[in-house]
């Protein structure tokens, strides 16, 4: 994955606020990268841009050689469906769907023939084989995040982006989630980019980048 001269500005009351400033980034296949930085430094914004969930003011992001922002919203969604998994800080499970249905969702959206079986197997892998028909509101925070991780890995993405995956969890649960994340990452050979405050979590990544004043510096 490659980002070049990536900028993001937002209009504020008295002018324009620059969050990311001509930022360049290159991440090799299979690499694990932690993006760290102070609150409000633009970590989540950067992650959103890398996933094509937001539009930059200028610059481009290439995944597998494809320029994300040359595609329309549907094109980016299709690319994500094929190549990218995403884990949110606040889990973002669909409350109407059971754990199994939540994991099946990206597979079905991509038209996978055996969505149910694939979802079943990955849910069993994260240890939730007994909780298939539970709704998100009946699951604990750690369980919800495990469903979210199962959902992210279900499509066997090349790239997994995680935004503060342990931010809403206690440290013991958080540690188990991190273990799971790295295990699956290893098993599937996924490229992992995660945004975190957690120094311990950052330390487990192959590379650490600090976001300062809109620029990335190796840390």
């Amino acid at each position: 994955m490659q980002a070049s001269r990536l900028s993001r500005q937002v209009p504020v009351n008295d002018g324009v606020l620059t969050i990311l400033h001509h930022l360049d980034l290159e991440i090799a296949s299979g690499e694990s990268v932690a993006i760290i930085g102070a609150s409000g430094s633009g970590k989540s914004t950067l992650l959103g841009l890398l996933a094509g969930l937001d539009l930059p003011t200028s610059g481009e992001v290439r995944i597998n050689g494809e320029n994300l922002f040359a595609l329309d919203e549907d094109g980016r969604a299709a690319l994500r469906g094929r190549l990218v998994g995403f884990v949110f800080q606040s889990f973002q499970l669909l409350p109407a769907l059971t754990a199994l249905e939540n994991v099946m969702l990206p597979l079905e959206l991509a038209g996978a023939a055996s969505a149910r079986e694939m979802a079943l197997s990955v849910l069993q892998r994260v240890g939730l084989g007994e909780r298939l028909s539970h709704y998100p509101k009946h699951l604990s925070g750690g369980e919800q995040q495990r469903v979210a991780i199962a959902r992210a890995f279900a499509t066997q993405p090349k790239l997994l982006l995680a935004d503060e995956p342990t931010g809403n969890l206690d440290s013991a649960t958080g540690a188990r989630i991190i273990d799971l994340l790295f295990e699956l990452n290893r098993e599937q050979g996924t490229t992992l980019v995660l945004v975190t405050h957690d120094a311990e979590l950052a330390a487990r990544c192959g590379r650490r980048l600090r976001l300062v004043d809109g620029h990335l510096v190796e840390s």
């Binding site: 973002q92 669909l94 109407a96």
Partner: protein, 828 residues
């Protein structure tokens, strides 16, 4: 006081944050809708009253068989009312060719105060400017034909010689005394002395027409009524003619119905917005509790905010309503009376009260829940938010709504019918939605991802779905009632006045002319015209107690006691009569003396089944028992009598006969032949009068249609409020699905699947409710035949699906274009 100020500051803060926009908008539109309908119907009602006053040519008439007490006229002038005096009397009109009895009307400048005269002169038919000049007269076409006169010819009236200046083709107050109408001659009152016809003993009707503002008219009427002497009476717009009164009452009911439904839709919109407000304020409320606010303080803080909001949004809504009704009034153009009177202040007060009371009625239960949110909510969402409100939670709001309904309906029965409809829609919607959801839920494993998602959302939001179906079902029900059901009702109503209703009445038929006249009519293809005997009688006593006008409070009752009744006798009950109490004597009765009385007049005079009535006919008294009460269909325009006797009782009294038939246009020659063969007959032309009534009914129908347009907007607001209550939730979910790789089409379909299901449910509920309510309204309220309309179902289901999907698509399509993180960032 501090809390009051703080609440104001918080209101401003939340306004800037955009928290209150949706609620305020719903409230503003709702009050705007209600008050626009209020302002507009207020003006239309006033206009209809004015319209009806054309049938009097005035707003109020002082009528007497002698000169009206001058004190009454002076007081009317002092109060700013315009009096115009007219005299009517029968007299012979003489020409070289022959003579003819005519009803003379001597009018003064200013007549008619309401409505217009129409005349034909050299330039064709036109509205008359003023009245006949001194020395000139206007004759109706019948008199002109009977006397073989043309404009420019002269005639004699008493001692005066007058010139025919024009043909009088329309007189607004012609219908005043239908059975005394001879052909009309209208003259200028200045010529009266020259005729020397006003002599002691002349049968002259003195009428003073009055016009002015409704409030002044009402005040004057209240002042004058106790000062009337014997033989003097006051006629108001709704006192006379039963058929015109029933037309006015029905028009009023239709307008009220329109206003009522917009009120219900307003409440639906408010509930949906208030619930959303609660959900969005849980966090803020919990934070306030955390920083030391007591439950009571939190409650008062929100209560004051809602009061501020209620008053401000309602005021703005009233302004909007006031503006909207001007636009409506302008759009109406010539449909309603040329100038609508200015609206009164009542709709403003009504709008304000409606807004504040409905908002508080439905918001207070939510505020109660809000104050009970534990401070721990800030930290532990999984504790669960406040419990959902059941129906009982809305008791206060429903009570407010009921009070407003009854007030607006102006009558308890109509209000209760609407409420019953409302409650049944709620119950049916809830039961049906839950049943259908249970039925649909298992399908979810067998369908594709988009339908599964739609179904899953429907199931998850079971309660929200049920309330949406209820809101949409209500909105659709109201719209259906106002379009299809209203159309059906109006159609039934208008068809009660068949095209071929009798338009000519013939009176003064002598007993020995009955057979020859029947032969004459039979020879001219009118064999079906029935002749009815008629005797004039005065009511002397009820149960041997002499009656006098002073015994009655009601004006109509007083007048009925003072004047002579047209009595009749019959063996068979007329088709358009229905016995509502007692029994009709039938053909083979025992010969005992009995009366059958029309139920309306029985109510006016306090006559009950079994009472003994004594009538004086030609100096002889006739006593008998009331054995039945009849309901008469006055809209049929057939000959009808208030009081009918058994044949044996009256058939030896001096009687004349009366008949009514339909004369197609262009066959007036038949009448001339009839009058030549039976010169003493008086033919009354009611075609013009009926056209007047029909035109007024059409006007009322058109007015309701315009009011309906506004109610349609209120319905769309309720629909929009229902969709936007879950809009942000949907946007977040769509953004998550986008993140997971959903295409725009998949996203759209998964949203539409749910909307289509909700639309189908709402359509089913609305069709059921509208069919039921239409049946009740037709048979119980308007007493019209009910006809099932299958289109109601087709249109209800189709518009449910189309409406919800369109509104849902409009409400959520933004997410398809917006990068998902912007949606998630804004809403999470």
């Amino acid at each position: 006081m501090n809390l009051l100020r703080l609440s104001w500051r918080m209101l401003l803060r939340e306004w800037r944050a955009g928290e209150l926009h949706a609620l305020s908008f719903a409230l503003l539109i709702a009050v705007g809708g209600v008050s626009a309908v209020g302002f507009f119907t207020d003006r239309v009602n006033q206009a209809l009253t004015t319209e009806a006053s054309q049938l009097l040519a005035a707003d109020l008439v002082l009528a007497a068989d002698h000169e009206v007490n001058q004190e009454l006229i002076t007081e009317a002038r002092r109060r700013g009312l315009t009096p115009v005096r007219i005299l009517t009397f029968p007299s012979m009109v003489v020409t070289a060719a022959g003579n003819q009895l005519a009803e003379i009307k001597a009018v003064a400048p200013g007549y008619p105060l309401r409505g217009k005269l129409r005349i034909q002169s050299g330039e064709g038919e036109q509205d008359a400017e003023g009245i006949p000049e001194p020395g000139k007269v206007w004759l109706d076409p019948r008199l002109l034909a009977q006397l073989n006169l043309a404009p420019g010819d002269s005639l004699s009236l008493g001692n005066a010689r007058l010139q025919v200046a024009a043909v009088l083709s329309f007189e607004p107050d012609r219908g005043g005394g239908m059975f005394s109408i001879a052909p009309r001659l209208m003259m200028n009152a200045q010529d009266l002395p020259a005729t020397a016809l006003i002599q002691p003993g002349s049968r002259i009707g003195y009428r003073t027409l009055l016009a002015g503002q409704p409030r002044e008219i009402a005040a004057y009427r209240a002042w004058a009524t106790p000062r009337l002497s014997r033989g003097e009476r006051i006629e108001g717009v709704s006192d006379g003619r039963p058929e015109i009164r029933s037309a006015l009452e029905r028009g009023g009911k239709f307008l009220n119905l329109a206003a009522l439904t917009s009120l219900i839709l307003a409440a639906v919109a408010i509930v949906l917005s208030a619930r959303r407000f609660l959900e969005r304020h849980l966090d803020g409320c919990a934070v306030m509790r955390c920083v030391g606010a007591s439950q009571a303080q939190v409650f008062r803080l929100y209560l004051y905010q809602f009061l501020w909001l209620g008053v401000l949004a309602s005021l703005a809504g009233c302004l909007l309503g006031y503006g909207a009704q001007w636009v409506l009034a302008r759009q109406l153009g010539g449909l309603v009376a040329a100038d609508l009177p200015a609206p009164s202040w009542v709709p403003l007060a009504y709008g304000l009260l409606t807004g504040v009371a409905t908002l508080l009625g439905f918001a207070l239960p939510f505020l109660q829940r809000l104050k009970r949110v534990p401070p721990l909510w800030v930290l532990r969402r999984e504790l669960g938010g406040p419990q959902r409100l059941g129906l009982a939670g809305f008791a206060a709001g429903i009570a407010v709504l009921l009070a407003l309904l009854l007030w607006q309906a102006g009558e308890i029965r109509l209000g209760l019918y609407i409420l019953a409809g409302l409650v049944s829609v709620v119950m049916v919607a809830l039961l049906l939605t839950h049943a259908l959801i249970r039925l649909l839920a298992p399908l979810r494993r067998g369908v594709g991802v988009t339908w599964r998602y739609g179904l899953a959302n429907l199931v998850r939001r079971r309660h929200a779905s049920a309330s949406q179906v209820m809101a949409l079902g209500l909105g659709l029900t109201a719209l259906l009632i106002l379009t299809l059901v209203r159309g059906d009702l109006l159609h039934s109503w208008q068809s009660t006045l068949p095209q071929h209703a009798p338009n000519r009445f013939v009176i003064n038929i002598q007993p020995d002319q009955v057979q020859p006249l029947q032969d004459f009519l039979g020879n001219h293809g009118m064999a079906s015209a029935a002749l009815f005997p008629m005797v004039r009688g005065r009511l002397l006593a009820i149960n041997d107690r002499t009656v006098s006008a002073a015994d009655f409070v009601d004006d109509r009752a007083k007048r009925l006691v003072e004047r002579e009744f047209n009595l009749s006798w019959a063996e068979q009950l007329q088709n358009d009569n229905q016995i509502v109490a007692g029994r009709w004597w039938g053909k083979n009765h025992d010969g005992s003396a009995q009366w059958s009385v029309e139920e309306g007049i029985a109510k006016n005079l306090g006559i009950r089944l079994g009472d003994k009535l004594t009538y004086q006919v030609a100096g002889q008294n006739f006593s008998a028992t009331v054995t039945s009460l009849r309901k008469v269909d006055w809209d049929s325009f057939h000959v009808n009598f208030f009081v009918i006797a058994t044949p044996a009782l009256l058939q030896d009294s001096p009687a004349s006969h009366i008949t009514a038939f339909y004369l197609p246009a262009g066959e007036e020659a038949l009448l001339n032949g009839m009058v030549k063969a039976f010169p003493n007959l008086t033919v009354i032309d009611v075609a013009a009068l009926m056209n007047q009534v029909r035109a007024m009914m059409e006007r009322i129908a058109a007015t309701v249609e315009f009011v309906f347009l506004f109610t349609l907007a209120a319905g769309l607001m309720a629909l929009y409020a229902a969709i936007s209550a879950t809009r942000e939730e949907r946007m977040v979910e769509a953004a998550i699905m986008r993140t997971l790789g959903a295409s725009g089409r998949q996203l759209l379909l998964s949203q539409l699947a749910e909307f289509i299901l909700i639309g189908l449910l709402a359509g089913t509920v609305a069709a059921l409710a509208a069919t039921g309510l239409g049946y009740v309204l037709a048979t119980q309220v308007f007493h019209l035949p009910y006809q099932f309309n299958p289109w109601l179902w087709v249109i209800s289901l189709a518009s449910g699906v189309l409406g919800v999907t369109l509104a849902g698509w409009l409400g959520t399509r933004g997410v398809l274009r917006q990068p998902p993180l912007q949606t998630l960032g804004r809403l999470c």
